[in-house]
């Protein structure tokens, strides 16, 4: 009797690892959506921290790196999070539509507030501190990435905290 009976082979393990990523389920049009409470908070904190660290400093690379890390991870939120997109293959019922509407309303409210505060802060500080054109351009670009992060991770964050996860099983 072989010692390997019952053990998975290399190919089966590779299949399992691919399934674990959730990518085959996404490709099949049935992504396993989950509550992303802390991950969504983490990417928003990363993006905000990166923006604040590099505020008004065009050559401050690690603040920019933190911001881009947050922005990059935020792009996974709509794929894996509880908010179903418009026009996707998934069944979107009235609960999903109501949750999506509230989530985007909250995210757009936050986005508008950050945009107004951020733009006025940039205008004010650039005048007071005499920023160079390079510093101004760099900071406005970083603010744009923060706003994009709020757009992608904000609805997921709201929806994840607004509803307690429910078990799929009966």
């Amino acid at each position: 009797m072989s010692h390997n009976s019952g053990r998975k082979g290399m190919l089966e393990r590779l299949d399992d690892s691919v399934r674990w990523t959730g990518i085959p389920a996404i490709a099949a049009g049935h992504p396993r959506r989950r509550s992303l409470r802390w991950p969504s908070v983490a990417v928003l904190v990363l993006a905000t921290a990166g923006f604040l660290v590099g505020f008004g400093q065009p050559n401050q690379w690690w603040g920019y790196a933190i911001l881009m890390l947050g922005f990059g991870l935020a792009n996974l939120m709509p794929i894996l999070g509880p908010v179903k997109p418009w026009g996707g293959p998934e069944r979107v019922d009235e609960f999903d539509r109501a949750l999506r509407a509230r989530a985007f309303l909250a995210a757009f409210s936050a986005l508008a507030a950050v945009a107004v505060i951020g733009l006025w802060a940039i205008v004010g500080l650039s005048l007071v501190q005499g920023w160079t054109a390079d510093a101004l351009r760099s900071t406005i670009m970083k603010l744009a990435f923060v706003l994009a992060t709020i757009y992608t991770a904000g609805p997921t964050c709201y929806a994840s905290w607004a509803r307690a996860p429910i078990d799929d099983e009966d």
Binding site: R91, D93, E94, F95, D96, A98, I166, D167, D168
Partner: protein
Amino acid sequence: MFNRIALLRHDRGLSRKDLAEAVDVNPQTIGYLERGDYKPSLELALKIAGVFGVQVELVFSLQPFPSITDALRRAGEQS
């Protein structure tokens, strides 16, 4: 809003998935309804009542439903 979806569902031997398919929603939506986290549209409430074959006010109520024990006790007293 209060509802008896879980009670009626168990009484009829329906899973969340069965009921969800009957009224064309996701099973999680039935879970949120049962937990009281979501108020259904009138259309969905009527569909759910239709699946159980009862009037909508027997499934949904703005007041808490009496417990089964109380309802049975009252029924026993009346008979």
